[in-house]
Structure formats: structure tokens, C-alpha cells
Symmetry: D2
Subunit: 450 residues, 4 copies
């Protein structure tokens, strides 16, 4: 795919943002694209997900999104393979006897209503979200495009007769003489992962078995407040995260006639929210807490019987996350007791902390120095957020492999997770170039050292 085609793909995905386990259109669109190549394997949905899944919506919700995907043009035969909302896909090419390298990109969107401002490029250039109330506000549309772009670039390095090879080599600006590392001679797997935003897709993919032979894993994120032209060679300090859902149940009553007969679930919830955000800061490092979605009650004149909080806690280490989680549980339970309510707390998604391996970060930093349009290289930076890529990274590291999480700067007008977020599409090309060359270099290096 040319870079212009990658932009077209990205914009198509941008118009169809889908949340966790509802990436029907996205998966189908990617499968469609992948099938036009001569790949060694394409694993779809259930074939690339193992173990239990959290956060699966009910059948009704799944049907609604499946129908939307169908209307948007998704292929029926692919939709049928995504049983129970098992979305995502993995593309495989075997180019030689070398090590197996993986690239993980995430593909899901967010429940944000995209800006309608004319200054927002998706509006002015006509590719604003068509899924009302949902938006690619974190760049996963670009990630998916990068995944396809890297696949194509690797294919090209392995096709000496391909008339585009020389052109590509110029494009990606690898100095053949200097490195000699211009050809990929191992196996490549691109993982298009669903459900990152809700931290529910990483674990099933990590336990699918498809990662167990991976020697080198890259993951990538655009933006993160780094401008276009900047590369972060190895991101560390992923905050460990746990999502929770607390359902408060009280007793309803007529708010005018019998207020004291009720046990007010909304009062319990509000007390909990106030105290959740007030959990003490910890000396050992950063913690986070957020009551991201709340609701309660049915009518103005009824003392609310039900209320709920969907929230999350994070920590710079898994221990700090667990400290915050344990405090949060105590707050939720005491708030319920205070208002004579019951509370049921369930954990909805969880990811550990992780770190990039130096060996890969060194490769990325070196590769970036020679790359076009890259004028700033940061050796290491904190994510300051969470990512369930950590499940995949840890899986690979536990099997003796190495992993790194790469940042590709992009000018983004609005912040991540806001309604004016957008990417500088030039950074798709930067990502393809940096990752392709890093993959080749890592593969060659490992092969030599064996």
C-alpha cells in the first residue's frame, strides 16, 4: 500500500470507530485488505483469542453493532466468524528461518462524540465518525494503518524481483551499505488487537497461543503529547490498571410522601465518588482513580433504588495499583453501609505494569537517527497511562523474548480522549519506516547472535 492508500484506510477506519468486542466493521475491513495479499496465515477473531473475556456486551448490543457494520459494508462471511463479539485479526508471513517478530497494534474506538467544528479536519475533509457518540480519539485508526503498512514494507524487502523494492528502500531510507540489514528473513506476525481502551483485549490475545513463539515484540502508539518528527525509542512506566464496576442497591420510596422509607443508592454513590478521588496519594509513585461513568435513579420523585460507578484505579507499579484498589473497595463498601445499601463490586479489566527491553530500544534509537523527517529521539519516556499491551509484552518476556513499546510523535490538535483529537497523517509513514527498519534490524541481529 502506498502512503496515500494507508491514509485512505485510516480515514475509513476513522469513520467507523467501534468499542471493545464490537470491532465488527474494523475487523472485516482489515480481513478484506489482508486477503488481497499472499499471506501464510490470517487468524480471525476466535483464532487469535484465548481464555475468558471480560466486558463482553449483551446479545442485543452485539446485534446492534453487527448490524451497523453490515450497513457500512462489512462482509457477511467475516462477520459470521466473529462469534460472540470475538473481534481482531492476526496476519502472518514466513520469510525465512530467522526469528519470529510480532507487531501489536490496537484497533478500537472511544465513546466520545466527535467535534463538529469546521476546524476539526475530519469534519472539513469529510471523514468524521459515522458511529454516533463514538470516535477514534486515541489514534488507533492510525495504528491499524501502520500495521498494514509495516506488513507491506516487510513483504517488499523479501521480494527482490518486485519492481518497487528499490523505490521502497529509498523510501524507508535504509543505508544498505552501512547496515547490510535490508532483508527480513524470519516470520512476522501483525496483531490487530481489539478492546484496548477497556483493557479487555490484551489478556485474551496474550493467552491465545499465537504469541508463544514470538522472539521479538514491538507495540506502537502515536502522539502521547510528542510532536510529529519525534520518536520515543522505549516507553516505560505503564501504569498498572484495574477497571471496576460497583452496583449499589437500596430501597426505593416516594420522595415526597415517604423519604425516610428509602435507602438511597444515589447518596451512597455520591459519597463514594467524593471519597474515591480523595484516596491518599502514595509516596512510592503515581496513582490514579477515576469514576468514569456513573448513573442512578429512575424518576425525580422516587428515592433512587439503584446506582452504579464504572471506574478505574492505576498505579506506577502493580503494588501501587493494588493499594489504590484496596482503598477504593473500602470506600465503596463503607459508602453503601452508610446509606443502608448493598454494593456489588466486579473487576472488569486489568493490566499489569511493564517495561521496554533496552536491547530493542537501542535498535529503535539507532534506526530513528537515519530516518527521514525524524528530528528528535527520546531514549525513554513514561507512558503515564495504562495499556494492555503489557499482557503481550510480559508474555513474550516470560518466554525469553524481548519487547519494546515505541512512541511515534504526531501533532494532535486536541488531547487524547477529547473530541478534537486528530493525528498528523505524516506520522503513519514515520511509524511504518521506524518499525519496519527496527523489525529487520532486530531480526538480523538476533539471527546472528544465535
Amino acid at each position: 500500500m502506498t502512503r496515500a492508500e494507508l491514509v485512505t484506510l485510516r480515514r475509513d477506519l476513522h469513520q467507523h470507530p467501534e468499542p471493545a468486542w464490537r470491532e465488527f466493521y474494523t475487523t472485516a475491513r482489515l480481513v478484506d485488505e489482508l486477503e488481497t495479499r499472499n499471506l501464510d496465515a490470517i487468524y480471525v477473531g476466535p483464532e487469535v483469542l484465548g481464555g475468558e473475556r471480560r466486558g463482553v456486551p449483551d446479545d442485543n448490543e452485539l446485534s446492534t453493532w453487527r448490524a451497523r457494520a453490515r450497513e457500512a459494508g462489512a462482509r457477511e462471511d467475516v462477520l459470521e466468524r466473529l462469534s460472540g463479539g470475538r473481534t481482531g485479526v492476526c496476519a502472518v508471513i514466513e520469510c525465512g528461518p530467522g526469528p519470529t517478530v510480532g507487531l501489536r497494534v490496537d484497533i478500537d474506538g472511544l465513546p466520545i462524540t466527535e467535534s463538529t467544528s469546521d476546524e476539526h479536519r475530519p469534519v472539513s475533509e469529510g471523514f468524521r465518525s459515522e458511529m454516533d457518540g463514538h470516535m477514534h480519539a486515541c489514534g488507533h485508526d492510525a495504528h491499524a494503518a501502520i500495521g498494514v503498512g509495516v506488513l507491506d514494507a516487510i513483504i517488499e524487502t523479501t521480494s527482490p524481483n518486485n519492481k518497487d523494492t528499490q523505490k521502497r528502500k529509498d523510501d524507508v531510507d535504509i543505508d544498505g551499505e552501512a547496515s547490510g540489514d535490508t532483508e527480513f528473513t524470519g516470520t512476522l506476525k501483525i496483531f490487530f488487537q481489539p478492546g484496548e481502551e477497556q483493557i479487555v483485549g490484551g489478556k485474551p490475545m496474550a493467552t491465545s497461543g499465537r504469541l508463544d513463539d514470538i522472539d521479538v515484540l514491538f507495540a506502537v502508539h502515536v502522539g502521547l503529547d510528542h510532536p510529529s518528527g519525534e520518536v520515543v525509542a522505549g516507553i516505560d512506566n505503564f501504569l498498572a490498571v484495574s477497571h471496576f464496576e460497583a452496583e449499589f442497591t437500596g430501597i426505593p420510596a416516594h420522595a415526597g410522601a415517604r423519604p425516610a422509607d428509602g435507602n438511597n443508592a444515589v447518596q451512597a454513590m455520591a459519597t463514594a465518588v467524593q471519597n474515591l478521588y480523595a484516596i491518599p496519594r502514595h509516596t512510592d509513585g503515581a496513582t490514579r482513580v477515576n469514576a468514569g461513568v456513573v448513573s442512578g435513579g429512575t424518576a425525580t420523585n422516587i428515592i433512587p433504588e439503584h446506582a452504579m460507578i464504572k471506574g478505574e484505579v492505576r498505579g506506577e507499579t502493580t503494588e501501587l495499583m493494588e493499594y489504590t484498589e484496596s482503598k477504593a473497595t473500602q470506600v465503596l463498601e463503607s459508602a453503601a453501609t452508610m446509606h443502608n445499601c448493598e454494593v456489588e463490586i466486579t473487576t472488569a479489566g486489568r493490566a499489569p505494569s511493564a517495561a521496554s527491553d533496552n536491547m530493542l530500544a537501542d535498535i529503535v534509537a539507532t534506526v530513528a537517527k537515519d530516518a527521514d523527517d525524524i528530528d528528535s529521539i527520546i531514549r525513554s519516556d513514561d507512558l503515564g497511562g495504562s495499556e494492555d499491551a503489557t499482557f503481550l509484552m510480559r508474555r513474550v518476556q516470560q518466554h525469553g523474548g524481548v519487547a519494546a513499546y515505541i512512541g511515534i510523535g504526531t501533532d494532535h490538535p486536541g488531547g487524547h480522549h477529547t473530541d478534537t483529537f486528530d493525528v498528523d497523517e505524516a506520522s503513519i509513514g514515520h511509524g511504518v519506516e521506524i518499525l519496519t527498519n527496527s523489525i529487520i534490524t532486530a531480526e538480523n541481529k538476533l539471527q546472528k547472535s544465535e
Copy 2:
């Protein structure tokens, strides 16, 4: 209609509870029924509503409920008359030159999911709500049936040739000799009012012009913790009420990476809820406050940009309600400011306090003494809640008429506004008898005094 037929009607309405301005099935069902009688007028929807309406749902919501009504068998020609959700109906019969008497009954349901317990009679006898998440949990289904029952009973008193007259007179047990008041010789209007629960239907109906010639107005409520066989001759101390909606708007941010960049609307909402319930009690009488419906946020990992509270304040007098309302406004605005959010507060429905006229309460008390199955008569009691019947009562009283709000006891297993609420259907007959005889007695008495 026989009492058995009234029960059938009540159960049909019970299966189709509809909230404010969405009483499509209910209105159509009543019009259907009323058209089988030889009435002098039937005013439908827009013909019985004046002025502005609050709390009108959007077109989407109206379409959904209209479609449900259609599926449930509502007549298309009636639905067409209920433009923009203008529901409700008024039936008129003119029986002579006497005074004009009105009876107001309300017809809307509540957003409560009805119990599925086998001990709940609507379940065991097969007439549980078919409108998921909605329920007649306050007896308005019985009120509508009483309205039709009274209409029929009055028609009978005025049809000497009607072969059922004698039977009816026995039924309603009026001692002809003693009172001589067995015939209704004025005009009767039955008002089937929408939107009582949200306090939005009373005012438009009061200002429709249809009440301006009313000399005597009755309104009725079943239950209110009074058992079957008990009658409250005149209910007083309606709490004045005002419904409000507060929409908080902050700034979203990634909850892990940039928590301090957000202005958290859910924190503002929770702070407001805590302090709303803590508004100081007032020496001058009862006040109430309820944050009945709340919601906020879109995803666990986004600092919430939006949150809202739908709530209400009440007071034993209009002044006490306004005291509470003004405190509530201050709480809402300060909570927004505290968290750097904006808040927009709108008033969604409002009703004043009112009182029953002694002259009518005396009539009801006297009539009740001779009624079958009534073994307890309470001269006067407080409602302890609110009612937008007060708009109609005040309208009539301001034009020189008299009004009373009558309580008909009914054994109800669950409390009002709870999912096991149900009525003792015998009380439908009690209501028809007490109201019919009170209407006749009041009409006769006024005619003599003119």
C-alpha cells in the same frame, strides 16, 4: 360498564404504562371506549391542553412510544390527533341546566421495572406491564377506570328509561328517600390528565380553557397508605413541588495520562448531591429534596466531561418549596464552580400547594357514611406529597368554584412507587360510588342555592 369491565379496563391500562406526553396507547384506548357512548363532546389531546408544555421528549423518543402504542393496538386516527405528544382526553355530557362539575383523574405511569415475583398479582394473573422498565406503580390505571366508571354511573342516573337505572341505584346505594339527590342535572366533564408524575400535565390542562366554566371540581387518588374501606373526605397540604434538571459540563481528559487537565463533571455532580440532601430543614414546615436521576461520564479512562441531575424540591407551602429551590440552586452552582465546570439549570415541572374546600369535603364525608363497604371516614389528611391537580383546583377556586381532592383507600402490598405496588380492585367500585354520589349531591346542592 360493569365493575368487572372496569377491572378489565384497568388491567389493560396496567399492561401499558406510559410516561408523560407518551400516553399514546392510554389515550387511544380511552377514546375508543368513550366513543361507544353517546357523549356531548370528546376533546382529544391538543383540544384539552393550553399554554406551553414542559418535559416534552424529543421526536425520537415520541416515535418510539407511538410505535409501541401502535403495536399494542392503538387506533391510528387517534394517534394522529396526539401531535407532538399532546396526550390526554376530556369527556363531556350535558344533563340539564345545573352547575358544571369536573372530575380529574391522571393516567400516566412510572419508570419502574415491575416485580416478576409470583406473589405479585399482575404476574400471577397475567397483566404485568408489557412496557419494559415502566409500570403503573401509583394507581393511575385505577384512576382512569374510576373516571370511566363515574361517567357511566352519571349517565345512568339521567336515563330514566334505561332498564339498568334501578339496578345502578341499588348498586351505588343511594337512599333515594333520604337525600332525594339521585339525578344529575348539570354538565359533567371527566378530565383524563397526562404527565402527573413529572408534574407537567396539570398546568397545560388547567390553562386549556376547558376548566373555566367548572363550578365544582373533584380529584381522586387511591391508596396513599389508607386501606380498602377507608375514605379521606378532603386531602390538604399538598407539598408544592418543583422539578429541576442540572447539566454539568467540564473538560474531558485521559484519566491516566492527564488527569489534571480535566474538569470533572462527575465530581461536581457528586459534591452537589451530597450537599443537596443536606439543605437545612426549615422551622416553618416540611421540605423535601431528591436527586432522583443522575448520570455522568462516558468511559472509565476519561475524566467525565458531562454529568446531570434530575431532581425535585418540595415544601409544605410554596414559600418553603422556593426556599429549598433557592438553596438547591446555590449548591448546584457552587459545586460546578468548585470543579471548574459550567452548570445549566432548568426547571422542568412545578406545582403549587392547595387545599380542599370544606363544603365539598362535608358532602364526601356524608356520602361515604351511607356507602357500602366503607368502614372508616377521615375528614381531612395531609397528602405528604405533591400533585399537579393543584393547578386545576386553584384554577377552579380562582374562578369562584370549589374543589376537593378525595382519597379512596386501597390495600396496596408494596408502597407507592415501588415495584410491588398494586391496588385492591374493589376500591375501583368504592371510588365510582363515592364520587358519583358526591357529584350528584354537590350539583343538587349548588343548584338549590343559586
Copy 3:
């Protein structure tokens, strides 16, 4: 004592306001005064207090106040009799074989710093409080003066040779011919009660044995938003009250270096305060809750280990008070649990509700009609507050006696319990007149009926 002398006495007491169990000066001053009369008994301190006492300050605090009283001129021999802060006094005169009548007045002050405004009469006329931070802001100084005034007036009625008798009779304006009730022929006991504000003095006095022979008990309060010239014949609906003290204990920690090591007692306290005021209102009647005194923590850089709330709950009935108390306990305990703190809750003072007997209220209303300067008589009114006079009233009523709580209107510039409260001193005379004549009338009436 002439009325001018009563005003002088009131102003002296006004300058020396003393809280519960610290009324050393006040008691000594009254004993001094009473000993100049030829009384049958003067019971001091321990002689008029039975059972356990709550709210007794520590020895240090008692010494401080005892020293202040000494400096202000209190007699050492009286101070010695007030062991352990057992303050208060009861004066007895026996005038004949008739019934025993009691009058209870309270004598304690409030922890309020009196206004220094020149518009505040105690400032402009030089009798502002000399006890810094304390003030007679509820009229108990006037009550004590009324108690002495009534004693003198009754003495006079029983002294036919006293040259002032005729004058007094004119003064108090009893129509001798009409009522014939001009002489008191029973036993009179004036109870000067300590510790009303903290609801700690009434119960010990009620259980002292000194009330067990009382046939008729009057209690009196000035003001209560009634203007000078108004009398309330019988006050009802005393709110039952319970004072509580909650001590929260957490774990301290350095607020900068180790915030998560602390368990924050101030957070627990603040959570409790927010939710105490938000205890649901009750349909059955008025309730109150107040976190009147709070404190916590020792230094800005230490996570607070200790915090406390001194508060109170009230209810229109004892049941409503207990409803609120039980909710409050739940709030306090859950708030502690939420923040990993312990809480110890103690009940510090408690009074039941009570009601005035009609028979006495009728006498007061009749007497008031003939009184000078009284232009408005209210048969019955709610207190809207609490009073531990209810312990004494209930004691008398349980022994078969009758009791009434009388309101004597007084123009008060600031509200009760505010720093500009003051009384119209003319109302001292009103109180003496109304109570004297009510006591005589009641005594005569009971004697006849025996």
C-alpha cells in the same frame, strides 16, 4: 424585690454567664439573695441534684470557673457547697396546707462571644458579659430574675400585715372580687436549674426527690420570637433531643513524606458531617441534626490522628429523635470504617418530648387576659426546639401532677443563640405577674377540688 431591683439582678447575671456545671457565680449570687428572705428551706447544689450527671467538665476546667466566680465576688462558703460542679439551688416557702406548686427556671449561659456593637444595649448600658467567649444569649438571666420575682410576689400575698401587699395586688392587677384568688396557701418551690443548654441539668434535678411532692409545675421561657406583650399559655411539641460526641481515631503520618501511611481522622469526620446533615427527612414530623462543634488534627504537616464531632439530633417525637439518632450512628460508624479509623460515640445529654396540660394552660390564658401590658394571648404553640424541662414536667405528670411550659414574649433584637440577643426587660415584670397569678389560681383551684 422591686422590678428595678430585678433588672439589676438580671444585669448582674448577664455579666456573668456560665455554662453547665460551672454556674458558680450564678448559684452563689442567688443563694446570697435568697438568704435575705425568711424562707423555709434553701437546697443548694448536691441537695437538689440526684443520679448521675453527664457533661461534667474536668477538674481543671472546674477550677478555672470557680476562680472566676471567686474573683467576681462569689461567697466562698457557697462555692464550697458546690462540690464537683454541682450547681443550682431550690428555694421553698410553706404558706399553708394547700397543694405544692413548683416553678422551674434555668440559669446557664452559652459559649458565644457577645457583640461589642454600640447598638447592643448590654454594651451601651454597660452590662456586657465579663466572661470572655460566653454570653446569656437565650434569656436565662431574665428567667432567674423572674424566679426571684415570683418568690417575692407570693411571699407578699401571704403577708397581710405587709404594707406593700395592697400595692402589689394593684400591681399584679388581680380582680379580687371576681376571682377571690389573691392568696397562696400551699407550698412553693422555685427551682433554679443548671445546664439546660447542654441538656444535662434537667434529669439530675428531676430525679433529686425534690419534685416528688409537686402537684403543679410551671416552667417559663422568654422570647422564642414572640414580641413583648404576647403570652403563650401552653407550649407543646418540644423536640426530643439527644446530644452525642463522636471521637475518631486514625493513624498519624507525615503528610508530605508518607501520606498513605496515615488513616485520616479528619477525612472521616468531614465525610460524616456531610452525610449527617443529609439524613432523610421523615414524613411523621420534624427532625433536626447539627454537628455543632468539630475539631481535628494537630499540625498542617501531619495526617490527622484525631477528630471529633459534638452534635445533636432532635425529633418532634421521641421516636423521630431515635430514628435520626440511629441514622447518625450509622453515618458516623461508616465514615470511620471508610477511612480505616475507629470511632467512639457517647451520648452526652438527652431529653424526651413533652406537652403542657390543658388545665394549666387554661388558667394561664385566663390570667393573661386580665394582665397589664399583655395584648396578645396564644393558647398553644410549638417550641420547635428542645428543653430538658421536659424531664421535670414528665416527672410531675408521672406522679399524677400537672405541668405547663409558659412563653412570655419579649422583643429581642437578635435571634436566640446569636451575639446580639437581648431581652426587653419589661418582660421580666410580665413574667412575674403572669406566673404569680397563675400559681395562685392553680393552687386555689386544686385545693377546692380536693
Copy 4:
């Protein structure tokens, strides 16, 4: 002074902990001690404090503490020099033409009641605090002793005829051959600073003029969770801090009779506390907030008119502290508005962040390697707390000098700021040795480089 004498001095100070601007005994005791030496200057109180002082207690409070100091044996002539609570002292010796080196130690105590447990060494060995409710719970008693010890050690190095010199040199274990740096040939100033805990003493001392000629400044702290035998060569990341005091003023009212007439300052305070702790965490680094001291109200039956919070905010940088401070201000003001109260916010003490200079940290690390009993050297560590030594460090750095903050490990049974805190007195010797040798080394090094 021998080490045994330093321990005696420390224990004497431990028995007399005094808070900011009340270090009367401590200052007098130190002056007493210093005057036995032949020093070049001793600057007392006002002579070593410039500019305005915050947090000065009222005259009453000053008198109380001055009286306590007098009772404990403080010299009257020194007390007289400490006008208005201007405490602290600076000792100066001039030993040659070399650079001027300063050592700052703090001397104040904390408002904590010391443990009475027999396992607490100050109890079992008889030197528990004699100032009730106050305690040296942060080691400033040891700091003062170290200050005196260093002074004596430097004096010895400069007195070749002193018969103890050789012994001292052995004691402090300087390898004469290796370093040649065994003699101090500049000017030494020891600053005994008051009011560190409240962050009020550092700024006046920094602006006194006494630091303007300092080339090298050391400050020292024991403990900080480092065990005995550990040294931290340069502490960084002092949290910037600001202390605030918020006074809420509402309107009082009788809590039973007129609750709605009050504007409740305690409700405002509690709302503020809940939301202060909930100020969003910041991505750029650590922040802290603490409502360390709160109080409000006067009596259980009065709606509280007054309430206050003494608190603090901190940040890893001055910007982060200011972010938190600005949020805190908004919370305090909005909470007041919400409850119709006024709030007056004053800043009571403030310190910037600072960092140790590498050049000095290197010297300390080198010196520590040769020191007795030191088995662990940490090059750099975060304080995780705040310190107004930063004012002095910045002052010196701004004038072109260098500064370092040294940590001397000590086994402490309880945490800092808890009632079982104590120091391992061996660490006093460690501190004297490390600091003396660092001072000599730095002085020599700077002299050579000039």
C-alpha cells in the same frame, strides 16, 4: 563536647520541645552553651532574622511559652533578647582567609503528645517531653546537638596546641596523609534555625543578611527512613510547600428552633475537606494536600458560625505546588459560597523546591567512604517532603555559592511525626564526623580553586 555530652544536650532539648517562634528554652540553652566557647560572634534572635515573619503567635501564647522556658531554667537575659518570639541563634568562628562555610540545623518541635510506653526509650531512660502535647518527633533535637558537635570539631582542627587535637583526629578518622585536608582555614557559621515544621523560620533567616557571604552551605537531617550507618550524599526533590489557613464565617442560629436561619460554617468546612483531598493528581509529578488542623462551632445546639482549616499543599516542583494551591483556593471559596459563608484565606508559610549541588554531594560521598560505622552510601535520594532549608540553599546558590542537604541515617522505631519517634544517638556522632570532614574538604577544595 564529647559525644556523651552531645547526647546529654540532645536529651535536654528533647525534654523541652517548642514550636515555631516559641523556642525560648532551646535558644537560651544553646546560647548558654555557645558562650562557654571563644567564638568570634554569637548572633541571637533578631540579629539573625530579617524581613517579615509569618505564623507568629499572639502575646498571650508567647508569654505562656516564655514562662515555661523560665521555669525550665532559661537565662532571663537571653529571653529578653528574643523579643516578639524572635528565636534562633547563629555561631561564628573565623579560622583563616578561606571561604565561608555554613551549616544549618533546625531546632523546633511538634504538637504531638509523646508516647508513654515503657518501650519508648525517652520514657524508659527518663527524658520524655516535659512540654505537654509537644514532642521532638522529627529529630531536630539531634540536629541541634550535631550543630554544636560540628562547631567543636572544627575548633579543634584549628587549635594545634590543643592537647585533644590528635585524639579528635583519630576520632573523626581523617586520613591525614591521603587528603591533607585536616585543617579548616575559613569562616564557619552554624545556623540554629527556628520554625521549620511550620515552614516559617527559613525565609526570615535567609533574608537576614547573615548568609550573603556564604560560599558553601550544608544542611542536615537524620532518619527519613534511612537506617543507622547509611548516608545520603545529596538530597533532592524537596516538595515545594505552602501552608494556608482558611477561616469560614457564616451566621449562627438555634439548631432546633431556626436551623434554616443559619449559614453553617462547619458544613462549608466539611465540603471543602472532602474536595481538597480530591484535587486531581498531576502527571508532571507528586502533589500533596492535607487539612491538618480543623475546628468549628461552639455548642451542639448552635448552627456553627465559624470554622477553620489549617492545611498545606505541596508539589514536586514549585509549579506543581502552585497548581495544587490554586485548586485548593477554588475549593475553599466555592465551599463557602455553597453554604452562604465568607472565607478568608491566608498563606502562612511557604517554601520552594531546591536541589543539592553535585560538587558538594561528591565530597560527602567521598568523605563517607572513609567514615567509621558508615556501611551504605546513597548518592542521591528524594526527600518526599518539604523543608524551608530550601530558602537558605537558594539564597546561597543565587549568590554563586553551592549547597547540599545531607541525610544521616538513624534507626527510628516510630515514623517521623508519630509519638514513638526516636533517634539512634550514635547517629549524632556520624553526623558530626561526616559534616566536619565535608566542611573541611569543601573549604580546602574551594580555596585551592580560587
